[in-house]
Symmetry: C2
């Protein structure tokens, strides 16, 4: 039996960002002022859930060691673990319902992590966490109603309403990547046609670049991959665009139009005060954001565009752990973090 | 100076549904159990705002007379007026910012109605009110997170989150008619291309029927209008579809597909437990709802369709006044009506 310190500002919470490729762990002070003990390791999902969870618990233990060593607080000052998991989660029962990237289904993650760490654990969806992190300490700070769009392999999303994450009626809200932007368009991995994700995800961007290069032999992108189209990635497209390559710039501008159509929908529906866009796509900078904001203004009502800022995320690499801690605080106190 | 009765269940609130064509007024008991003194009159917007507001205030006065006469309560038992107005409203300041149907802009409706009725007045958007009415006493009763879609001349919407209307950051949320369902599609009145409203509103349905009839001489729709295509209305399309007319049935089924694409987006984003569809289009019954539900299942995630019912509204003609009263209660107490 341990007693938590009475001053919550001297408490620490461990944030875990469980991704399909990497696990990131860090400790945060309850007031958001201190981030320490950050580390990452490969997920190695193929080794199975038990192996992944043991690795996470070990990382949590060493991060707690770092907190104790660097701040001089006792171990009791670390009060819990917030964990962002990919896929659909059941927060109340602490279960990952379906995480295709990990090949997990109906996995009782909270029960297992609690047993291994001896700490209270709360889970949330990873894109929700990334959005909440950008709201708490990043680009969406100060916002009331916020939409987060995270562009990685897929397109994820999070919705904040009145400073709290909105989860919907069965914890499945925020699938912003699966807004239809063209009802007869490209087939999406989800089975639908014309989803935003089928156009604007990292893999869709790379795929569209490959298609464009089949009809163009002058692009510097070809040199970047020594003519091997299979090596094209979204990151290379942003790099070539920054260097002024016409094909890459066109891909980025088209991406801005697709994202703009999806985000205009979100503005007309939600009337948010901030839209924060995170992920590798933000490397494209103004080449992306300038045409994106233009497209949103063309499509959405003036009254909603005038009151909304559309900004790149400012916590690459840490939004997930920061937001996992923020979600832990919200779930255990019923209030958003201060 | 008057004293309100201490038991709120013996209080009455007047609901006003101000439309571009008609004004509807009724009284409701605070507990939602009694609706009485309902009346309607033409809006006659061309006579100007002052004339419209005087007519509304007169209707409120005669409805209060009815409440007193029929229930035996004193006039003090009528505690306020909830008013649904078309267009964008600023609830906090009681101003109709822009109501194109009425040709109003920046009109201080609450101040004027309070002066004329001597009662506290709260306003809200009319589509929000219709949704909240269906939630309080209609088809969406018992729901927690609810989307309302109202199909009339245009396509309006309302969003309920955790039993409260969601208004967004500048009172402009819920423009569900302006979800883009085809980014290169039909021009919408709002200036965007391919909005849901450009396909599924009453006027769009009539327009699509006219286009179809230009290439078809066998449809019974032609007989219904004596060959005069300008007389085609959405209501006639539903009637002909109910009678088995192939052209009309195709229009209804296409409408179901357009609505289905828009509603699938809303399910993936909001994960609501109820979607309630109101307006004339519900006359089409299963001819609309069966293909609509199929289209939503085709496009949205199984986890969100399994937990959501899509239903026609059950308060035609009264959802607006019922919801105006519900919004009054929510705005004055900070809680949804019981």
């Amino acid at each position: 039996m341990t007693m938590a310190p009475t001053n919550p500002d001297s408490q620490f919470i461990i944030g875990v960002d469980l991704g399909g490729t990497n696990i990131v762990v860090a400790a945060m002070s309850h007031d958001g002022a201190h981030l320490l003990g950050m580390q990452s390791a490969p997920t190695l999902a193929a080794e199975g859930a038990e192996s992944v969870v043991r690795r996470m618990a070990q990382m949590v233990a060493t991060t707690i060691d770092t907190v104790v060593r660097e701040t001089g607080v006792s171990r009791d000052a670390v009060v819990g673990v917030g964990l962002g998991a990919p896929g659909t989660v059941d927060r109340k029962n602490g279960v990952v319902l379906a995480a295709p990237n990990l090949r997990w289904s109906n996995y009782a993650l909270v029960e297992r992590m609690t047993a291994l760490t001896g700490l209270p654990v709360r889970i949330d969806n990873d894109a929700n966490c990334a959005t909440y992190g950008e709201w708490w300490l990043g680009a969406a700070r100060g916002g009331t109603n916020v939409i987060g769009v995270t562009i990685g392999t897929g397109v994820g999303g999070g919705i904040i309403i009145d400073r709290q994450l909105y989860h919907g009626s069965s914890d499945a809200a925020g699938e912003i990547g699966h807004i239809t932007i063209d009802p007869t368009g490209r087939r999406c991995g989800c089975g639908n046609y014309g989803c935003l994700e089928a156009y604007a995800s990292g893999s869709a961007i790379a795929g569209r670049a490959r298609e464009a290069l089949e009809h163009d032999e002058t692009s510097t992108l070809l040199a970047l991959v020594n003519g091997d189209l299979s090596q094209i990635t979204a990151a290379l497209v942003y790099q070539a665009a920054a260097d002024g390559d016409d094909v890459a710039l066109e891909i980025v501008r088209d991406t801005a139009k697709f994202l703009g159509a999806g985000i205009a929908n979100l503005l007309n529906i939600f009337n948010p005060d901030v839209v924060v866009i995170a992920g590798g796509v933000t490397q494209a900078g103004d080449d992306l954001f300038t045409p994106l904001r233009t497209e949103v203004r063309r499509r959405a009502f003036k009254s909603v565009t005038d009151t909304c800022r559309i900004v790149p995320g400012t916590l690459p690499g840490t939004a997930g752990v920061v937001g996992a801690v923020a979600s832990y605080i919200a779930q255990t106190t019923g209030r958003p973090p201060a």
